[in-house]
Symmetry: C2
Subunit: 151 residues, 2 copies
């Protein structure tokens, strides 16, 4: 999936954002961003923690949760609420997209439909509301599962 920005550029913005909030940097914060950037997919807090632990044994899931909350607030990452089993996170430096989730195998496909994007803006306008963000998930049985379950 196409990235809008290099990892180094994101980390630079992260450092600025941390300073601006009167906070201090840490290896773990950069690691979380780095893991999400490199994976390019939707990871759970557990998976992120495991991934960081490959290099740094002493990484706690509680810090990962704290960092994820900070990164989301600062819009470095997006939250995806899957159907069950909690949230997943992905790097924000991807082009905007929505998700198709297979109810059968759990696979996640990304897509964008410009027409839908435009209509969403119109809908918000109709209610005199300011559109901040949206979340659209299509629940499907994917092509692979349809083929595998022809009975």
């Amino acid at each position: 999936m196409h990235r809008l920005e290099t990892l180094e550029s994101i980390l630079e913005r992260l450092r600025v954002s941390i300073r601006k909030n009167g906070l201090k940097n840490s290896k773990q914060r950069e690691e979380v961003v780095s893991v999400l950037y490199k994976s390019g997919t939707h990871l759970s807090p557990e998976e992120i923690t495991q991934s960081i632990r490959l290099r740094d044994k002493n990484t706690s899931i509680s810090s990962v949760y704290r960092i994820l909350n900070f990164l989301e607030k600062e819009r470095f990452i997006y939250t995806l609420e899957t159907n069950k089993n909690g949230r997943r996170y992905e790097i924000a430096a991807k082009e905007h997209h929505d998700h198709i989730i297979c109810l059968h195998c759990g696979d996640i496909i990304e897509f964008v439909d410009p027409e839908i994007e435009e209509r969403q803006i119109q809908v918000a306008k109709k209610f005199d509301a300011k559109l901040v963000s949206h979340d659209m998930r299509l629940f499907v049985v994917c092509a692979k599962c349809l083929l595998a379950n022809k009975d």
Copy 2:
């Protein structure tokens, strides 16, 4: 909000559905449906339990959870995952709609956009997937909150 069906008709379908699954009816199951139907809005398991308790002191939230899972599986109700604080449920016997959620006051507005509905079908088709359902939430600052916070 316009109902597609009377409460009595839904309860009749519920009884059929229970029989078809080899299960037994219960006062609580009908109560949950009834509360959701009459409220017409999106209630939390806690709120549903409280509402039933007004008439029947001995109603447990665990039964409400069990009943909600059954009702959702049988498509008598829909689940709405709010941003925080768990899920909310609404009766399915309303015309299909999506949700606008105000990030400021939490208000929920319902809407349908036929063009978006159509595009969703096309998107699923493009990926050779069978569209089962969808969930779209527009996160906004609503008109009321925009007015109240002009600063």
